[in-house]
Each structure stands twice: as C-alpha cells, then as structure tokens.
Symmetry: D2
Subunit: 340 residues, 4 copies
Amino acid sequence: MIVVMQQGCTQQQVDHVVRLVREMSLADHVIVGTERTVVAVIGDDRFKDRSMLESCAGVDRVVPILAPYKIASRQAKAESTAIGLGGSLGCVAGGKKIAVIAGPCSVEDRGMLLDVAHAVKEAGATALRGGAFKPRTSPYQFQGLGERGLEILAEAREQTGLALVTEIMSIDQVDVVCRYADVLQIGTRNMHNFNLLCAVGKTDKPILLKRGWSATLDEFLLAAEYIINAGNGKVILCERGIRTHEQYVRNTLALAIVPAVKRESHLPIVVDPSQGTGRAYMVPAMCKAAVAAGADGLLIEVHRDPEHAMTDGGQSITCETFAQLMQEIKAVAAAVGREI
Amino acid sequence: MIVVMQQGCTQQQVDHVVRLVREMSLADHVIVGTERTVVAVIGDDRFKDRSMLESCAGVDRVVPILAPYKIASRQAKAESTAIGLGGSLGCVAGGKKIAVIAGPCSVEDRGMLLDVAHAVKEAGATALRGGAFKPRTSPYQFQGLGERGLEILAEAREQTGLALVTEIMSIDQVDVVCRYADVLQIGTRNMHNFNLLCAVGKTDKPILLKRGWSATLDEFLLAAEYIINAGNGKVILCERGIRTHEQYVRNTLALAIVPAVKRESHLPIVVDPSQGTGRAYMVPAMCKAAVAAGADGLLIEVHRDPEHAMTDGGQSITCETFAQLMQEIKAVAAAVGREI
Amino acid sequence: MIVVMQQGCTQQQVDHVVRLVREMSLADHVIVGTERTVVAVIGDDRFKDRSMLESCAGVDRVVPILAPYKIASRQAKAESTAIGLGGSLGCVAGGKKIAVIAGPCSVEDRGMLLDVAHAVKEAGATALRGGAFKPRTSPYQFQGLGERGLEILAEAREQTGLALVTEIMSIDQVDVVCRYADVLQIGTRNMHNFNLLCAVGKTDKPILLKRGWSATLDEFLLAAEYIINAGNGKVILCERGIRTHEQYVRNTLALAIVPAVKRESHLPIVVDPSQGTGRAYMVPAMCKAAVAAGADGLLIEVHRDPEHAMTDGGQSITCETFAQLMQEIKAVAAAVGREI
Amino acid sequence: MIVVMQQGCTQQQVDHVVRLVREMSLADHVIVGTERTVVAVIGDDRFKDRSMLESCAGVDRVVPILAPYKIASRQAKAESTAIGLGGSLGCVAGGKKIAVIAGPCSVEDRGMLLDVAHAVKEAGATALRGGAFKPRTSPYQFQGLGERGLEILAEAREQTGLALVTEIMSIDQVDVVCRYADVLQIGTRNMHNFNLLCAVGKTDKPILLKRGWSATLDEFLLAAEYIINAGNGKVILCERGIRTHEQYVRNTLALAIVPAVKRESHLPIVVDPSQGTGRAYMVPAMCKAAVAAGADGLLIEVHRDPEHAMTDGGQSITCETFAQLMQEIKAVAAAVGREI
C-alpha cells in the first residue's frame, strides 16, 4: 500500500507512520515529492487493516496496491479454470463450449418443471435451473416448495441428463441441497453472507456465486476467495446486474466485468440476463451480447407460461422463444470462436 | 396496482389482462385515456407477483400503488414506536431522549473494551456497541473473538449499566448471542438474509436492523416486516450509508431517509455516521446532522487508540473526541426539542 | 398520470385534487380501492408540471403514465429511422450495415491524424472521429486545436472519403464546426445543455447525441426531442457508459439500453465502448457485445501511439488492434444479420 | 502519481515507463515490492494526461496522488473564504452568519414574486432566488420569462434589499443576467459546461456553482477551478443532491460533502435541500441537518401557492412553513456556533 501524507505534514507524523508500518512487520520507503510525501509500504499487507493508518495525524489517505484476493487471482494460476457442472451432457463452465443453464425461476409444480426441463434440453441447454428455496423481498411472497422442489428437480435431471443448479440460502440447508443438487447457487443477496460462503466451501459441489447488487469486483473475487479458502476451488462467478439509477431495467447488466474477470482471475464467469435486466424482451439481445463479450455461460429463466409464473414472470421467456434464441446464440458463439 | 397498456394495444390484450386480474381474485377497472389504456387493479395485491402481468402481450409496465409492507407502516400504527434497548440507564430508541450507542468496531481485548465502555458511559452514552462476530470482506481479516468477545461485552455491561448491542451473522449464532446481548444487530450485508431475519424474529430481543448497501426504502421496511411478521415487533432501523459513485467517503450517508421513515413507518430510526462515511473526521459533523434531521439515535465507533484498531481504525473517533462531541450533540438535540 | 392519495385522506382532499386536474383542462377518474384512492388523470399531461399535485394535502405521489417525449417515440413513427452520416463511403446509422466511427480522441497533429484516418479507412471504418474542441475536466489539460483541428479533419475526409464526426461544446462554435463537420457530436457533459441542443436543432447536420453520465432513458430521449422539436430530425443516440459505484472501469456500459431504445424510439443508437469502459483492453470485447446487442454503430478511439496520446491514451486502441477487431466484429455482425 | 506495474512485468516494461516519465519532465522512483513493482512519479503531474501511461504494456493502473485542483484547495489558501452576495442586508457565504437564499423556483408573475420576496425577507432571508431562464428536461415545459423575469427580480431587490441570485444557462446570457443579478447561478446540468464556466469566470459577480448530478468531489472542485482560473475567485459551492438508486427522493442529498469541502477547499459551501430531496415535506429536516453539518448557507424554494407553481411545486414550501422553519434553523445554528 501507499500512505499519502497531507501537504504540510510534519516530519514527526511521517516518522510515526513509518513506526506503525514497521510494527506491522512491513518495510517502508519514504518518497518526498514536490508537493506531497508518500510512504510506500513493502510486503504482503493483505492481512493488515490499512484503515488504521488512515486515522494517523498527517495522513491524507491510504491506497492499496495489491489486489486483496490471492488464490482467486490470475497470478495464482495462469491458465483458466474449467469446471464441470455434472449431469450426463458434459456441461462445463470455462471451456470452449458455453454452458447454458435454463429453467424456471422457481419450481412450482412437477408437471410444469418436467415440461420445461425437456424443452430446454431439446433446445440445447445442458443444465437446469430452478429454485426450491426462494429468497423473496417480501415475507408475503411465495417462498418455494423446499425439499419437495428438490425432489422434482432431481426427477427432471434423471429424465433429461441436465445438470441441476439450485439456490441455497442458509447453512442449515447445506445437507439437504447437497443430497439433490449438482451445483449450489449463492444468490446475490447472500454474496456477503460469509458464514454461508464458508459452509459451501466445505462441500465438494461446484458453486455458482452471484455478484452482490452493489459489490465491487474486488468484493466479488473476495467472496470467491472465501469459498476457495475453505477448501472448494470450484467457483463459477455469475454477473446478474447491479443497482444503479436506471429505471427501465430492474438491474444494470455490467458486461464489462466479463473481460475484467478474464484478466484478473482464472475462474469462469457466466451471465444471467434474466435477473440482469428484469425484462423478458431484453433477454435475447443481452444473451447474445454476453456471449460476444466472452462469457463462459448463460443463466436464463424459461417458463412454459410466464403469465402464470409464481415468481419473476416478467423476466421469463417462453420455451419457444428459448428454442429460437439458442439458434441465434449458436451463431454468435461461432463468431467468437466458441460453441454451444 | 395499475397495469399500463402499450399504445396501440388490442381490445383482446386488454381483455386478457382483465381475465388474469380476475383469476387473482382482484377487481379491475379499465380506463381508456387519450393515448393509453390502463387497467386499475383493486384489492390487496401484496401477495401477488405483479411481474407476471408484465409478461402479457400489450402490457407496457405495472405500477404498484400499495406499499409492499403492512405492519411496519405508519398506516398500521399511527403513533411512533419506542423501544427500550435494555441496560440500567434507560436507553430507548424512539422517545424524546436520543439513544447514543457507542463503542469499538470489534472487541479486541478485555482491557481496551472495558476502558472504552467506561469512557463512553462517562460521556453520556447509554448503550455499548462492539462486535464479537465480524463480517469481513476478506477471509484473511480479523474475524472477531466469538463467544469470548461476548463475555467481555457482558462484563462491561455489568460494570457500566450500558445496554449491549452486538452483531449476529448467522442463524447458528442466535442462541449464544441471545445469552449475552440486549440488542441483536443485523449488519448491512445481512439485511437480505431472510432466514436470519426470520430467526431473530423468533427471539424477544430488540433488533437493530441496518439498511443494505443498495436497499431501497421499500426493501428496508420489508426486511423489518420479515422480523415483525415472525413475531418480534421490536425493530430499530439503522441508516448506515449507501453505495454510490462517491469516492471521498466509504458510503454516502442518506439522511433524508430519516424524515421518509418517520412518514412511512412507526419504527424508530438511528444513524451510524461511522460506517456511513468511513472517515473519522466527518463523524462529528454527521452526528450533529443526523440529530438535526430527527434521528432517534446514533451508533458511533469509538476506540481508545484508533491507530492500533484491528478493524475500522480509519472511521473510529477517540474517547476524547467522543466526550467533546457529546456536548455538541446535546446542544443540537435541545435545538430540535430532543434530549441526550 | 395517476395521483395516488394517502391512506386516510379526506373526501375534501380528493375533491381538491379533482378541481386542480380540471383547472389543467384534463379529465379525472376517481377510483376508490380497498386501501387507497387514486385519481386517474386523462389527457395529454406532458405540458403540465405534475409536481404541483404532489404538494397537495392528502397526496402521496404522482405516477406518470405517458412517456414524456412524443416525436422521438416509436409511437410517433413505427419504422426505424436511418440517418446518413455523410462522406463518400455510404456511412449510415440505422440500416443493415453498422456504422463504424473511428479515430483519435483529439486531433493532435496533422501527420498523426492523417495516418490514423487512412488506417481506419483501410480496416473498414466509414467515419472518422476526432476532437478539435475538447471538454476537459481540468482547466490545465489540453483543450484541443480548435479551428486548426477542424481543418486537419477536413483534409483527412477529402483524402479518405470518411464522414467527419466532431464535438461541439458551445453555441458560439456552431458556425465554425458546421463549416467543416458532417456530423455534430454533443458530448455527455452537454446532454442537458438545452441551449446547445436547440442551437444544433436549427442546423441540418446529423447530431450524434451522447447520453449524460447519469441520464435516465426518458431524459436521454427528451434531449433528442429538444433537437427534433427545434427542426432537426437527424438524431443518432449514443450510449457511452454511466456513473455507478464500479471502479474497475471509468464508466459502466449499459448495453441493455440498446433493446430499450429499439422498443421506445425510432432513432438509431450507436455505442462507444472506449468512453464506455475507459480501458483499452476491454474495447474489443465490448464492441462485439454492442453489435450482438443490436447497436447500429460503434464509436471507437484509435491512436497510432496511445502512449503518447495527449488525451485518453488509456482507452485508445492501436491501428493494428483496430484492424484485427474489425475482422471479429464482421463475424459477429453476420451472426446477428448485420454487416460492416 | 504512482504507476502500479502488473505482477510478472518485465524489466524492459519498467524501463519503458521510466523513459516515458522522464519524457514528461518528471522524476521517477522505482520501488520493487514483494509482489509488485511500482514507479513513483515525482513532480507536478496535473498538466499531464496520466491515462497514457495506462496504455503501456505491463502497467496495471495509475494512481493519482496530487489533488487535480490547485487554487481551489485549502493548501493554496489556509483561511476560509467569505463571499458577499450583494443586496443591502449583508448577505455573506462563508462567515459566521448563515446565508439564507429563498424564493420561488421560477419567476412566474410580478405579484407572486414580490409577495414571496417580502415574505422571505420578513422571515429573515437575506437573498432571493428565482429563475428567469429555466433549464427544463422537456422542451414542452415552461422555460422561464427571460429578461422580463430579471426585471421583476430586480424590482424585488429594490423593494427588499435582498441579494439577487439567478441562473445563467448559456454564454449568450452573460451580459443580460449580469445587468440585473447580484449572483450568477450555474445549475447542476451545466457544472461541466466548461465554456460557460470560463465565461462567468470573466465577470466580477459571485458565482453559485451547483454540483453536477454525478460529479465527484474532484470534478466539483475542478469546475470551481475553471472559474477561478479565468479570473473570478468568488465561487460559492452548492450541494444539491446526486443521482443514486434511491427512489423515495428525487436526489440523494450527500451532506458529508460539507465537512469534505471544508477540509479540501477554502471555498464556502451552501446546501439546497429543495432540489436535494425533491419533496417539500423533507425540506425542514434537511435544512436543519445541513446547518448542523456546517453548511455556510441554504437555498430554499418557497412559493405562495405551491399547488399552482409552474415548476417544482412538489418541492416548494409555503411562506408560512418557511417562516416557522427559520425559527428552527436559528436554534440549530446557535447550537453549532453560527447565526442566521
């Protein structure tokens, strides 16, 4: 880190900072500029709270130099990581083939779910999404079918071979969800739920980690680091839109995070244009854009009858739209040297 | 809700929306305007997913009319709720007297904590804050002392009479934290952790609920609704800054939420200018501003030696600064008809 | 618009709102719901200040129903507008062929500009960008060559046939810029400079209108409406990133605005991934994503020697990178039924 | 500035950066850390485009150390600047006494304006606000009375002694507005209109500079620097809310900018809670909060009859509310050692 002193700070203040740096077992290097003095701190300060130096008299601010994550970084592992999602169709995130994970927002009933599973498989998807435990903003909204939903999802997997991706909301759900699911999804509201990150880090399932609504790139990769650090290196990042001032969308899909992740980390990244826009009519355009930007996969909400969906009807596309979209995505994937 | 149809929609499309509305056991009222047709939906639609209507052909958008929360609203209870925090000093949030909750970010060691507790009590605080379980962005940062931290906090309470406010991060901590704490704090990263909200809603402790980094006012009050709905009406809201483009602060403290909450809800609201700015030098000004805006309390990070704080040193003020600040806050409180 | 009354409002308050609505020569329709009363206002209220109704006792809020723009809307003109940019290479925004507008951020010297112009033409661009008048955040930064820059740009157009796109910052520059440029660019900082919008609306040049840093979609289209309303229908919208909390980019490129504009307006929309990310390494990925999302054109900063660029070196790509990128864009364009 | 090299960069890449730094007539200082090498650049780099170094191979990012503004900074002038606004009532921004600038959003008619002027004077205001030229988001909204509005404002000043603050939107209005106004207001939409900033910098009138909707603190102070650099040191900063995800307000009033400006700059700062919230009911609370936070003045929209205001009725308070508010503000001002 670099400690930037205030203009007009005293020599004692600089000496005091240097003393604190040495107390931290780090080395210092004082540079006297024409207007400002800075103290460059040498050594791995990731384990230190740099905020404390900000409280010293004469300090203007502290600038971190090292990325706060280590094992999630591209420096730690130069080659990209490919992660198999399970199922019998060879679904992988991070390879040449793009992982298409499709299905309804929630599992609502058995018939509907099986229908959609067969339809998305037919159209070329290799994984099935569907929520059994649902995080809902209001306590009055449908909260999911729980374990019954998981059973239905597992039946769909058996019938289709699709890998099964489903959300886990709480540490007390780890056992039950692991019994059924191939991939555990951590939702956007739980990206900062560190106890949950540690808990899923102790399983051997791939983790689909959604970016928090207002998470920075560093925070996103640190959440991955929590999981990897707990023992589970199979983390698939997922961009699903951020909170901004924009109101014609539910969330602003920040696709530039795809090349950013590719540069900073070895982990695969998939994109969720359904949550990422909140508007069904935008989903096809943004799926194609995500693939063109280099995403390793897509998470797409598909429903047999969006008008009667119990959750997220407004952002779900129909099975027919999905089938056509897959043709279009295939062409874009080929144009950027990928496959579906 | 109001369903706004697209310009040029067909009569069949309007009829279809009307049919769906009736399926939901709600009443409809079609208004044909000069440019747009809208379908006003009559009845309590809080339990419905309005998103499904957005997926209908011919629908432009759906506008909610009713606030999504009920029991947290001012309509449900006209008089303001005052909540005792515990301790022997009569600490209350929501009364004429402003609740001042002060202490270090984390419990680091017994001596330090007891010193700070005595100092803040001396200066006029009536509750003590201090983290035993710490949510940290990085897995490499200090994660708190756990139960040992709770023991130290409880000792401080016994010595001083201060009410004890401490964070709970996970449902498996409910029992242990309830054994020691007077007030359970839900941190900003967990405002959307619905399982945790339900779990603390089943205790009889007052809950200090911090607003999520990017939560809307509706989402904030819905999180309170989760807790109340689970059986615990003692919810104290806490504004602690939101994520914006601003970089001279860690968070943007949105004080206008104080009059907004006073209008929309009967619950008390306190303000945390330490987290809410991230810069110690701003804390005094923003404490005074919060009181002038009508806040029912303050949450202030105070440390004996911020330069050696293990967490959040950059936003902690010293015991001396706190003592002087209390004098200033007292004057502002009097100017707006409140007391410290 | 819909006037939502507060719960518990009186009949007099409703009557008062109705009276005000009629004073505005609009019709009213009162709907008494189970919890709320709303007053639906019928007629074109775009010319009214709906804010005044918000100040009435008993009113909770006012919800607009009509889009605030008219002539920029898809309703006003169902077929998409294609706008020729000039030059001799048939550059059009809004047709099947994608308009590629490339060149340096600023005109710095004649040799450099001519070199880049020939290089981008060779690679397939049909328009040249380059700033002669530069809006700079600091008064100490390079402010552009002024009219001398325009002369150099015009020379490049003569040599290459590229259409010439350049920024205009102030109404006193209209005459001089019109003498040289084919397309007048309104920069992001001036999207709300209404006097300038009206001034360029009185010229017959196509206008490339960049979205403001924090402009909503409605505000963006209203800025276009200002220009069209002043007499000039040739408005090309340009997304160039918005201000958010993200820090790994200079701006967050919000590509979902492309399908949104296609739905709401008949105007073409181009995307600027250079400004839209601020990082050269992201430009290729985001150019491909923009085309896949349906953009009608691209604005790309290209420099012979970005390390010595006087402005925006960090987001400029080299001529070699641009040539290769054009091949990749061509493949993506074909995949979505477009051409370069 | 500090140039942070990528991990694994080569010695040649470091040497190349050093060479470029020396080309810029700056000195370099290479620090080899345990994981990263950084090049500290010594000298005043405010006149350089640091972005160019970001385009070099092996460079990760460039971190500025010096604030980009100079003459607006507290370093350039340690004592706070107090600026007289004119009129005969001794209105000053930056002294012990708080400047209260009140009046309608727009000048609508002579009788109304004179009434409000007398009322706000009576209640203790020392300056009058009112727009004659109005920046409106829609071309269909009321655009102001122009010079006739200025005449009415001047008449009000003569009758009351209030200083006259009014907005200027365009360089061609400089002469006419200077003939009437005491203080020229630059609106939020024009904070980045550099030609206008230079033009008002050549007048001798105090300038009330509103912060742009999404401007950073650095950009805000650089806009002030433009004016000062052009010759006019009388710049009064004005916080008026920023664009965020919040929807219960029109803008998020970021009061922590008050202590930030006090630390970084010698210029006075006033706060506009009317624009800063957009909701009349919040204005009193936020006026008191602004004063408690240390603001040097307030800009308040007051209307005789907000329900019939042609602009901004929803955020205007009545003359009666204003009179009572002034009593409350007086008490808060006294509590923080200020006067009204």
